[in-house]
Amino acid sequence: MKIKQIAAYCMCIFLMGSFVSNADTMVTPPDGFGKRPLTMIVPFGSGGGSDQLARAMAKAMGEVAGLDFQVVNKPGGGGTSAIPDFMLAPADGYTVLEHIDNAISAYAAGDISENPAVDWIPLCMTQITFSQIYIRGDEDRFTDWASFEAHAKANPGAVSMANLGKIGSMELVVMDQLQSALGIEINQIAYDKPAERYGALIGGHVDVLFEQPGDVRSFLDSGEMKPILTIFGERPSVFADVPTHQEVGADFEALTRFRGFYVKNGVPDEIVAFLSDACAAGFNTDDYQEFNRSKYMHLIDSFRDTEGSIALINDAVKTYQEMYKILGIGN
């Protein structure tokens, strides 16, 4: 307990220091709210993508609204281990949950009973990104999507892709859509850790990789990986020479990866409105924008407010449920 308390104090001091210097663009809290530190639950481990986002946003919301956050990591179960504790916390706005689109697919598949658009209130989404398919930089059997597709058609089932294993995950659903639209067959290999997925491609143990650009940016910069297909409705400017899935003949609306912040349903309206405003203002701070740029999150519109988030979640739930019916997954 002692260690956690010390950590919390230090975090508070650190955050207080940073908000004092930026007191000009403040969002004012409702009376009495925010006097004590808020808890931000992160359902993934320290240092990971979600953890970094939560800390960056906690800092930004501290700057604009004078809030102190204690970030608590509760990793495990693909993000589900954190949910019971979040649901047990009182609906007073002092407990905020960071979560990614895994929660939406888990709900659609019946793995969790909480509907993120109904049982939780999304405050905002601050990272929305698209997926791509990557090959090794020095790959000579194929160099772009056209030559890869020809190779895959010539060797059905012998082409392997490093991907996530969870049945019904965004990754596997998108790949199912792509394969059936184009009539190709790619052997999906389930790698549970990101490092293993990247190593498998670089080490030549698989032929292609499914990932989001922000996560493999260093490999893109060093030329060890290169994208051959963007799975999104348009070509983002940074990848202007990479075709989109619709351009190569796959006609479906692409699912995206998104991360955002939630409170429990039942939190008083004025507190939800305040936290949602604080999130929007935090998103626009220079530091946060810089953070999103470093993760390639500025390539497409990466922000949704509460209404926008609910629409995004509902659309995703519908798409997942339709796909699960076709694939025979879940209830």
Binding site: V71, P75, P84, G203
Partner: protein, 511 residues
């Protein structure tokens, strides 16, 4: 060499860097040496501070914590039979019996020197060829080879720490079974986390995350040790341990030189493979030392060579584990994953470009790891003279402190209460296992390697289109699997032969 001197200069010439270095060295050793908490706890606690630090300093700090934390875990293993981390578990086998015999100082001295030697050697290898080694390892070792190596590791290490081969294998199998709890690595199918009996339905989001090895270690070692000691005290059998401060002599080290060299190679090799790391290194180092030693029979009864073997191997693995992280951006364990997070918090990514873009950072890290390993000897020497006095504290005061710290350590890992319950359950189970000759270390080995092995096996099978013979069409995996198979057959043969020998018949009638 020139880079190394510049790195050293940046480290010692900059007061702030030096301060952080010393803090990391002491912090890692301190957290490693307190039963219950470990270097991961420290890493998670100070993560928020690193945001405001210079990236060079932050990365250096964690690499120093990594070096000294792995050593710190040996101290509790030797003094209390409680390994600070899974890679210190084999250190208990001989380190603790040495303490019981009143040779705690010698055991800690051996652990100190060997940790330093293992660490320094792997730091040197790391400095000489990080890029080429990482590139070789990533290409030569696919899932098939990793699975074969894990199989080999289990085959040769299964019986250590148990009364006989059968009990050893049963312990490992129990660990492998526990490793299957939670979401499976391929299809994400829940296992043992939800079931229904009659009308009672049970579903646990917590268990879907699987069992973490840290609460299990705390339970099997710390809690069960408290129970074992408590029984000894209440039955009036416990003898106060002598707190000796004698350091091992150079002659004693010279006698175990081959074991040291072997463990350095084993540690380095296991360390560079992402995900395999120090635990397998320590178990392999120990089992191989036992196999080749002329004092085989003394292993497990307080043989210094056993401490040497496991401590050299696990510290050699720390330097090696930094190789895939720095050169390829691929972390192998929990602490290296935190280091990756620090890079990213500062908007940087380790990988091939880091040698071009952040040469300073790489070399100050290398220099810090090298010096941290050297300084371990000095700090360790001081510790030998001081920490050993903890043994003078009456156990009735020490026991509640150990239980309290273990509870904090189990909870702080993921902030989940279930980990605390798992720890106490494992503690009670561990108590009965130890009194019947089964091996808690075997369960831990099975649990850790079971997770890694299952994931490697399932990936291999997918890659080979479910053709098992594919393992034998690749030279490295084929040889490792064959060697593992041979090791199992020969150990069964030896066990049967010795249990039929007249001597063991006498032993059986004695019992």
């Amino acid at each position: 060499m020139e880079h190394f001197i510049i790195g050293t200069w940046m480290l010692f010439g900059d007061l702030e860097a030096l301060f952080i270095f010393v803090l990391g060295l002491l912090g890692g050793m301190f957290f490693g040496a307190i039963p219950g908490v470990n270097m991961l706890t420290l890493g998670a606690v100070i993560l928020p501070f690193t945001i405001s630090m210079e990236p060079t300093h932050a990365v250096m700090l964690y690499s120093v914590i990594y070096c000294s934390g792995v050593f710190g875990g040996a101290i509790t293993a030797i003094l209390f039979n409680i390994p600070g981390a899974p890679e210190n578990a084999p250190t208990c086998f001989d380190g603790y019996p040495m303490t019981v015999k009143g040779m705690a100082g010698k055991a800690i001295g051996a652990a100190v020197c060997c940790s330093a030697i293992g660490g320094v050697c792997s730091a040197l290898l790391m400095m000489s060829a990080t890029g080429p080694i990482a590139n070789w390892a990533i290409r030569a070792f696919g899932s098939q080879e990793i699975f074969a190596l894990i199989f080999f590791g289990l085959a040769v290490s299964a019986s250590i720490g148990s009364a006989n081969l059968w009990k050893g294998w049963l312990s490992v199998f129990a660990g492998l079974l526990l490793a299957t709890i939670g979401t499976d690595p391929v299809g994400g199918i829940p296992r043992f986390s939800e079931w229904s009996i009659l009308n009672w339905e049970y579903k646990s989001y917590y268990l879907s995350a699987g069992l973490h090895f840290i609460p299990m270690i705390l339970g099997f070692f710390a809690v069960s040790e408290v129970l074992v000691q408590a029984t000894a005290i209440s039955s009036g059998m416990r003898q106060r341990m002598k707190a000796s401060m004698e350091f091992p002599s150079i002659v004693e080290f010279w006698k175990v030189r081959y074991t040291m060299v072997r463990s350095i190679f084993i540690g380095f090799f296991a360390g560079i493979l992402p995900g395999i790391g120090a635990t397998l290194a320590a178990f392999l180092g120990y089992s191989q030392a036992q196999k080749w030693s002329s004092r085989k029979a003394n292993f497990g009864k307080g043989e210094m060579e056993g401490v040497v073997a496991s401590e050299t191997a696990n510290n050699a693995a720390t330097g090696a584990a930094m190789i895939p992280l720095l050169a390829l951006g691929l972390p192998g364990g929990a602490l290296t994953a935190m280091i990756l997070g620090i890079f990213q918090i500062h908007g940087m990514e380790p990988g091939p470009l880091i040698f071009k873009n952040s040469n300073d950072l790489v070399w100050i890290t290398f220099a810090a790891m090298f010096w941290a390993n050297l300084l371990i000897v000095m700090l360790g020497w001081i510790q030998t003279k001081t920490v050993v006095h903890v043994l003078r504290i009456p156990f009735r005061y020490l026991a509640p402190i150990i239980l309290l710290l273990a509870t904090v350590g189990a909870y702080a890992l993921r902030n989940l209460m279930i980990d605390v319950w798992i720890m106490f359950f494992a503690g009670i189970l561990g108590y009965f296992m130890r009194s019947t000759g089964y091996s808690p270390a075997g369960i831990i080995l099975g649990l850790i390697l079971g997770n890694l092995g299952e994931s490697a096996f399932s990936k291999s099978m997918q890659l080979m289109n479910y053709d098992f013979l594919g393992f034998f069409s690749r030279p490295i995996s084929g040889i490792l699997l064959a060697l593992g198979g041979l090791a199992i057959i020969s150990s069964i043969w030896t066990e049967i032969k010795t249990s039929r020998s007249p001597q063991s018949a006498i032993k059986r009638t004695d019992n």
